[in-house]
Amino acid sequence: MQPFVTVKGPAAPLMQANVDTDVIIRIERLTAGADLGHYALEALRYLPDGRPNPDCVLNEPRFVGAPILLAGRNFGCGSSREGAVTALMGMGLRCVIAPSFGDIFYSNCFQNGMLPVVLPERDVERLATLACKGDVTVDLGAGVVVTPDGDEISFVIDRLRREALLDGLDDIGLTLKWADDIAIWQRADRAMRPWVWKTQGEDRI
């Protein structure tokens, strides 16, 4: 996984609530194996005829390719599709700042080296009003967001997730080191709940 340490750049303000994963990436783009970055947030970024929507903030020249997104509450609600995270990353994003996130989307971010930052609504709104003034810095090591006018807003990320992201750790590799613990647990469970393990035979009647 790509590590995340610090990111500095424009922060695009997309201040609407409940931006769901169907809006972030349409399922048909996933089945078709399309260029996800191109189709990220397509209902907002493009007009029905495929031309860029001039009213969409993400199409303003200073925000095209921005590494940071400022969003409304419950960003990424909806489905578990991990393509929602990779599509946003395909647009150039590395960090989304919002008052809250869909739970599964939030977990999926960490699996892909994207940092979701939860800040109080009023702080996200303040960042949004400053967005045109200059770059925002997100520093995971220090746990702060630095506004264009130099103020620092601290944020909290759970310790395990923070360490994994800073180091770009591989979860599967780490867990496989505990294969013995897993085997011991499973052996005990087979004795305790045998019915959970008898799945090979629907034909076992």
């Binding site: 169907d22 996933l30 699996q111 759970d158 897993i182 019915w195 959970v196």
Partner: protein
Amino acid sequence: MARTLFEKIWDAHVIRDLGDRWALLHIDRHLLHDLSGPPALTEIARRGLTVRNPELVFATPDHAVSSRPGRDAKTFGLGGHLYDALKAGSQAAHIRFFDLGEEGQGIVHVMGPELGLVLPGVTLICGDSHTCTNGGLGALAFGVGQSESAHALATQTLRQQKPRLMRIRFEGEMGRGVAPKDLILHLIGKLGAAAGSGYAIEYAGSAIRGMPVEGRLTICNLSVELGAKYGLIAPDEKTFDWLEGRRFAPQGAESHAALDNWRELYSDEDAVFDRDEVIDVASISPTVSWGTSPEQVMPIDGIIPDPAIVVDPEERKARRAALDYMGLEAGQRIAGTKVDWVFIGSCANSRITDLREAAILARGRHVAAGVTAWVVPGSETVKRQAEAEGLDRIFLDAGFEWREPGCSICVAANGERVPTGARAVSTSNRNFVGRQGPGARTHLASPAMAVAAAVAGVLIDARRM
């Protein structure tokens, strides 16, 4: 110490405590479908890893297969690749694959419970957010992304952080013509689509205890529309009876041991929840969504709410945009709004009981001119059962299409979509912008309300039929 149902199941699956409420949890059941399964299987193969416990993993195609009568895996070409990948990947890893036309195929969250693969007290994951459906049987079930799915394939475990706990008690007697779907839509409207974020939700109360298992699955299904990754309901004698004799459910002497274990699965009297809510169900009417978020719902006999009354400017803007997209006007009655499409299906409402309820209303009536109405059974087993009961004839005679099991136009991943600008009444769970096809307008409702709309050609209170 007093514990909640959630904590009892969680604690029983901790292999290692990782601190800060994190744990390495054993995963007892892992379901794969054609969209999220192939990338997880590919990731495992790419890394040269093997599937640790294939006997605990089950696969079936549902999202990207056509629902056209007489379909096969290639009827929808793009889905054909995913089907092939899921089938080949499953076979290579010795994972049981339930193929098209075989009992066991269907929407993962319909086939899992119906086969008895989902049992009280198990942990269960799937690369799908509606995995929370399975909590209706008292399982700790949650949706994951493909990376976590790959992790579980390789290790049969996941690292998870314990969520906060919320209890929702639905108390009282449901009115005539009110369905479980109405209860959960009403709840989401009341608490908001982000209320469950960070929580596991336990549903309790007299209305839940009085409800059949299928209704409980519907309630838990929409937990994720409330923002929660988990929804669950304490299993009871109804649950145990419902499971008895199912293909993968414990049998004989083993079922006694299982029952002893399952009867311990409830929240202790003085267990503590981080949030507790009570909903009086007697006051709930048949409910429909008017907007593009599942929190934008209203009683069928109500007036479409005016965004102008909302104080928060962002929220006001969002509501205006939703009305705009939906082609609706504030201040109007929602009943009487013309409908073009009706979809009865999805993991929210495609079980046999849903189809029976729909058929009762459809019998002897006819779909209105200009309305396209589909019934898509949730699984091959549901389909066969419905046909054995003659429900397919009732629907066909009434002018509905009777289709093959799968997700179909719930998510429009299989080439089937509601046309741009068309208005659909759907028994599914998501009314997001473009969910059922670009520009499609979705109203979420119960099966009875969907049939009523199909017959009347407009949104209408099913109690008036």
